[in-house]
Symmetry: C2
Subunit: 229 residues, 2 copies
DNA sequence: CGAAAAGCGAGAGCACTGCTCTCATTTTCT
DNA sequence: AGAAAATGAGAGCAGTGCTCTCGCTTTTCG
């Protein structure tokens, strides 16, 4: 086996990622500098390329890791709700987990949901991790559907194909209305968090947490309502 | 008066902004390069600094201009609705104007609502233009309130102060519930557009326009409803 | 009108970036 | 033990934002 080198390699790789995350937290994702990481590491800049073939590959690794952490946070929040049939509590838990993670890791939120880095196209490796944080939400919709049909809402015909595909992905039989309600709630949560973290509530809302609560409760009513929405 | 120089200066300034916007559309806002602009202009890079003291100042000018165009688009859409009492039509018009503008100017949307450029803090000059696109929305809420009270919804106590301040800014007497409903709709619209433009609907929704329609209609029901929501 | 002042563009240069290539050293594999 | 692979150092290239100095031109003012 290749003991010494393999361990050293793993340690250095982890250290690079740690420093990258540290730097990102300090100066933002776009300011991430390979040379600065190398300096912190006591290495020359070209040595970094033994571990990551390019800055984009480093970013990809960071993105995958961040998606994973966010996903884990949301999963844990949902799993923490004992009464699995209490859909309001589960929705609240999942939504607030998203915001909490974002507030605690703003630079990572920017990395995942901000402006895509110019010239950087998210590679396929990121697709799967990216779906993890939504899995808790779709799982909620599936469980709700199993507990009884809701959300009889007319949806645009042009959306039917997408919803049908989504239904298959979900693995359940959630009606179109339920999917639309879920997607809308998703958009509202993501919008509220991004508005807050990207500074668009400055001079408008001093208590973004309270506003987020209101948004969550608003959509809780729609998600749980058997008819309206 | 200073005829020749003044005109030349205005022309060059406009040309710089034009090239900047062109470059932004091609490679994204973060890739905007002063030197590239200078090259396109047939000037040496240092000459640009006679017109903009720094890259950040150029960005600020672009941001202000973009906010202004977005605001104008939303205003025009709202003003285009003849029957001023048809709040559903006005909401639809304003919301779709936001998405249309975003889809037509994705790089500018990123500039306004994406990750803040690292080290760049939006100066006060941008605050006023930033409120313009929301004015149509708040105007709608004010007009609705004048037409009759709605949205009797319990709001978190911690949000009351913000809502009170917002009510003053609005210049009307919109109840807390109306403001919360409006803020939620705003978050949903912004979230839906950003999810679409930043690539988070890939492999999920093929018809983002149809999803946006659904989101808008969903919130139309809440905004117009006299009780639910 | 003519001199002083201000505006403007060119050019050189600094410190920084991502990335490539070569070379010596060290570890691993056969 | 010898070949092969991994690793880090160093130099170098092309690009970036930005500063400074030096002429030239336009504007302003006595």
């Amino acid at each position: 086996m290749s003991g010494v080198r393999e361990r050293a390699r793993a340690a250095t790789t982890a250290e690079i990622l740690r420093l990258a995350r540290e730097q990102m937290a300090a100066d933002g994702a776009a300011a991430l500098s390979l040379r600065a990481i190398a300096r912190d590491l006591g290495m020359v800049s070209s040595a970094i390329y033994r571990y990551f073939p390019s800055r984009d590959e480093l970013l990809t690794a960071l993105i995958i890791d961040s998606y994973d952490r966010l996903g884990a946070a949301v999963e844990a929040a949902d799993a923490g709700v004992r009464r699995r049939g209490d859909f309001r509590a589960r929705w609240r838990a999942a939504a607030h987990a998203i915001r909490s993670w974002a507030v605690e890791h703003p630079s990572e939120w920017s990395l995942l949901f901000g402006t895509p880095v110019p010239g950087y196209a998210a590679p396929v490796d990121t697709i799967l991790p990216a779906t993890r944080y939504t899995a808790a939400l779709t799982g909620l919709l599936a469980d709700m559907t199993a507990a009884g049909p809701r959300h009889r809402v007319a949806v645009p015909a042009s959306l039917r194909a997408d919803l049908a595909r989504l239904r298959v992905t979900l693995g359940g039989d959630a009606p179109d209305g339920t999917l639309v309600v879920g997607l809308t709630a998703w958009a509202a949560v993501m919008g509220a968090v991004s508005l807050e973290l990207f500074g668009h509530l400055h001079n408008v809302i001093d208590q973004p947490g309270a506003l987020f609560d209101a948004v969550v409760e608003q959509h809780a009513r729609i998600i749980l309502g058997t008819d309206p929405g």
